[in-house]
Every structure is written in structure tokens, then in C-alpha cells.
Symmetry: C2
Subunit: 351 residues, 2 copies
Amino acid sequence: MATDLAPGGTCAVPIGDHAHVLLAHGGGGRLTNQLIDGLFLPAFGNPSSHAHHDGAHLNLGGARLAFSTDSYVVRPMFFPGGDIGTLAINGTVNDLAMCGARPQFLSVGFVIEEGLPMDSLRRIVSSMQAAALAAGVTIVTGDTKVVDRGKGDGVYVNTAGVGLIEYDGLIAPASVQRGDVVLLSGDIGRHGMAVMAAREGLQFESDIESDCAPLVEPVLELIESGVTIHCLRDLTRGGVASATVEIAESTGLHIRMNEHAIPIREDVRGACEILGFDPLYVANEGRFIAFVPEAEVGRALDILRRCPVSREAVAIGAVLETQGGLVTLKSRIGATRVVDMLSGEQLPRIC
Amino acid sequence: MATDLAPGGTCAVPIGDHAHVLLAHGGGGRLTNQLIDGLFLPAFGNPSSHAHHDGAHLNLGGARLAFSTDSYVVRPMFFPGGDIGTLAINGTVNDLAMCGARPQFLSVGFVIEEGLPMDSLRRIVSSMQAAALAAGVTIVTGDTKVVDRGKGDGVYVNTAGVGLIEYDGLIAPASVQRGDVVLLSGDIGRHGMAVMAAREGLQFESDIESDCAPLVEPVLELIESGVTIHCLRDLTRGGVASATVEIAESTGLHIRMNEHAIPIREDVRGACEILGFDPLYVANEGRFIAFVPEAEVGRALDILRRCPVSREAVAIGAVLETQGGLVTLKSRIGATRVVDMLSGEQLPRIC
């Protein structure tokens, strides 16, 4: 998830509590947000863009563009269902799609540690080529830097991307309204658990593969069908919990989710239970939530379910009429709890 | 320098000679070009863009855009005349300017090593803020990742940028013609020697500061004055030698330079001599060359000399009528030698 650098609805948080950067500052949770609100926004923030969003909306030469970037540091570089290359393409493609844009052109920057096997680089580049083809984007410019042994970790990849915004309105947290329904495009938790298993050398009964995939098709189908969309968000670092909390906090609205409605594969749920992870916080790379008006739910779900990547789309919650700035979860046994953001990620370097 | 990923005029070179990535693959010289021609272009290359250029030219929604990216891994992070933050802004700003574009929006991606002092990050961000203001660009989107101790080196910064192309023709190596004159915007070698001195703790008699600066003003002044421009290239990794060789090789033209015409400050020349560096290959971060028709030279130099960053602009060479694909240098004593590209950089991690 790229973060749009504009003043948000939350107060600037002092970052002086930490004299040094911690791993958790990169986890997409509370500490990442403190870094953004306390350091990056005051320096870079500009009033023309939109707060806490996956990418920036730009007007350039009469064109309405989305622009986004992400760096990828996932370990291991290769995991079931993908690698750092597929992630680097789909991650930025999805950030652009979440702005209501058709992703078109990508840049790629490699920071390679001296000694990386050329075959690994070749394999990553080949994955990027295939992922770009599948997502309908073209890699048009790039850069390579090499750092000394022990100053990197194989390879880090950055991608940035531009695309044309195809939705007439503004798809952003600021457009979310009371009464909106939250749709989820499919089951959660597979990317995080696939990487975890690969990292720790764990064997589960069934193979869990990353859900890494481009989300262009369902988003463009919704737009082309004229469905009213208020906000889209992919569920990367920090999972569905962090994504919804961020939107609730930046809008001051109350989002309620129903735990039983959130699809989680049995093997993923089992792996999470064994390892002590909460699947709501586990990263996904091919899942998103959509905030749409209640009247659009039936049509939106029909459209999403026709696209292979979102064929298990469901409604998982709603924006309540009450004041809030928080997310609550109605659990399987009927109790309600407040969902908070973690400080960092349960699994560092998941993307 | 970002590299536009399009099929070039050179043959694809096999990269199988090296089973592992070497530091020199990131040096902007021969090995970097082998990586681009042998691995990246075959995978990513697309016929719609322009070969071996600082950025990509795009048509998007009716707008003519330049798009470029670079990662920055310079060591030390802070050096006389700038730091990794100023470099990250000016480097990408200048790549866009070299496409004949007005740089407008930048993204920034940080890969931070756990344990980086928060004050260092704050200082870098503050430099980026000041550099963006000076260059007239807005940082609109960003991303932060943190890697474990020993898997990075303080911080690596990626920037990508978009700008509107303001020149009606195509500013690119493909537009270079026989008879063109090569203009240089000022003295060379300061960035490389400033970083070298800071890295090795050397003291020279006078302080050598990096020339790191935005090149937007002189480029836009040339364009607004209606000067015909065939190609622009900033002289980063590999210096004026690598930049001219790359253009000569990709166009098949013969560029001749006059060594005595190339301005080098005495202290920089002295430092290069002591340390055994050839200033033609030393990186600059605020210098560029322009290929213009001979008839435009007087006017172009007048315009450049009115801009503070290029007030010492001079003509340093010309594109000959003869066949070539090479660069020759007429030395101070009248001898002529062929200028080749180094395998890597004399100074790894210079930008």
C-alpha cells in the first residue's frame, strides 16, 4: 500500500518517542502511521491531494491520473504462489486500481546486493514480465543500483505506476458515507501464511499459496457498469483490520464488521491458530474491500462474482449511523469487540 | 539516471558471463548496459518508447508525459553540498528535465535499516522538502519499508516522477544529428570528489562541495525561447564520458570532444590526480550536456549563462559527419584518443 502524503483527519503524532527506526515502523500499523503523520505529512503534505489513500490523484495536462509507489522487501524472495517480482507488479497495479484508475505504465527500481545469483534476478524479471502482461501494464523505465555484500538482502524492488482514473467521482476515504456497505472480494490470509510457511520451512497439510493477483478486472467492471463506489482499499500489510481502522479513523466514521461473514479457508484458519496469528491482520496481495451505497450491493456483488479473482465476494459489514472513528467486530458467538491497529505487522517483511 | 526500457540500437548482449551480480553492474558503465540490454530490455522492452534515455515519454489521456525513476544508495548519506535526500529529489527532477519536461509530481519510497537514528531520517526528509520546493515539484505519494539490522545500510531512497513534456519535438538520442554541437552546462567532477572525500575522510585544501542542483530552469528557458534541442543528458554515474559514449553507441554517430574546453575546477582536478580518477568519468548531480544544431549555439549559450546553475556553460564538442558509434577526445596536447565506457564506476555507490 502506498500512502498518499496529504494532511489527514488525524492529529499529527509526535514521533519523538522512538530515537531509532524500528522494524514495526515498516509494518503498516500504528507506528507506520505515526511516521507518516508525525514526519512525512508535515514535510511533504499538500492540500491538493487526498488523505491516507493508496495513491495520489493528479491533474496533469488535462488528464486525471493516479500515481503510486511501493518498495518490496519480502523474505523469502520466492514463495508459493509468487515472488518479489509478481508482488512488485501486482502491488502497484492494485494501488492504482484502488484509486479507480486503469493502471498503464510502471517504473521499476532494483537495489541489488552484490553476489545475487544472476539466475535469481532472471527469474524475478521473468515473473515481472508475466505479471505485467497479465495486468495489462507496460514497464517503461527503470534503474539498477548494486550495494556491497552485507548491505542488502538479495534484492529490493521498487515500482511506481501511473494510470488514467476512469471513475467520474472521487474514490477515497473522504467519500465514505454512513449507510455504506463494506464488500470483501474473497477469502483472506493466504499471502501472509504462504510467506510465513516458506520463511519458517513449515509444512501444512494442504499447500497454502499466496493470493497475489491483479485487481484491475473487478474494479474496472464495477466502474464500467456504472456502480457507485465510495472507497476501495487493498488488504496488504496489516490486513482487513488495519485497512478498515485507517479508514474509520481518517473519516471519523464507525465501521462494523461481522466476523462470520469474512471468508477464511480452513487450512489458513488452522495455520493461523497454530501459529498464533489473527487472520484479520494477515496481509493479502489479491484482496480488496469496496465501500458502496446499500442500494448498489446486489449489483456490485453480481459483478464481482463474475470476475475470477473476486468470485467469492461477500458483504462483511457496514458504516453505521453512529459517531465513531472506530471499527467494531461482531464475533461468531455474538459478542462485539473493538478492532484496533497493531503497532507493526505480525510478520515483518511480508511485502 | 533512469534508463528507458526500450529496444536500443545496440545488440542484446548475453549476461551469462557473470553468474552473480557484481558491484560494477550498478555503476552506470559497460556492465550496467549489459544488464539492461541482456536482461531488462528483452523482458520489459516495448516498441512505443525511446531507447537508452533518462526517462520514458508517454501519451496518457491526451497529455504528453515524462516518467522516470531512480534509487539512491549513496554512501555516506550526508556529504558536503547535499545528502541522499537532496540527491533523490534532484536526480529524478533532472531525469524528467532531460526529457524536455517540467517536473511536477514525485513519489518517494524509503527502505530503512532498523536502527537508523530518527534524527537522520528527519534530516533527510527535511532536505527532500527543501529540494522539492527549490525544484518546484510536489511529493504526492510514498511508501516506507523497514528491513532488519544488517540487511540495509541506513536508508535507501527511491523516487519516481512525472512531468508534462513542454518541447514539441522529441528530445532523445534518436534526434541527435550530424553537425550538432555538444554544450556542457558547467564544470565537472565536484559531486564525485565531494562524496569521495567524505567517504574516505580526506581533507583537500579547499572544500569541494557536490554540485547537486535542479536543472529545470535552464532546460525550460531553452524550450521557452524556442531553441531547437535534439538531446539532453545529465552527467551522473559514469560522468560525461559514459553519457556521450552511450549516445554515440545507440545512434551510431561519432562525437568528438575537446578536452581543453571541458571546465574542471583546479581543486577538483588536483584531487582527481592525487586519487587517480579521470574527471571525465566522475559523477555530477547538477550538470548536463545538450545537443543542439550549430546555428543555435550562440543563443543557447546566452540563455544557459543567464541561469545561475549553468552560468559557465560552454561548447565542448560536436557530432562529426563521419560514421562512428564512438567518442573521441582531442587532448590538451593535441593527441586524439577514443573514450570508452568503464565496466562500472570508479566510485561505487556514488548516487
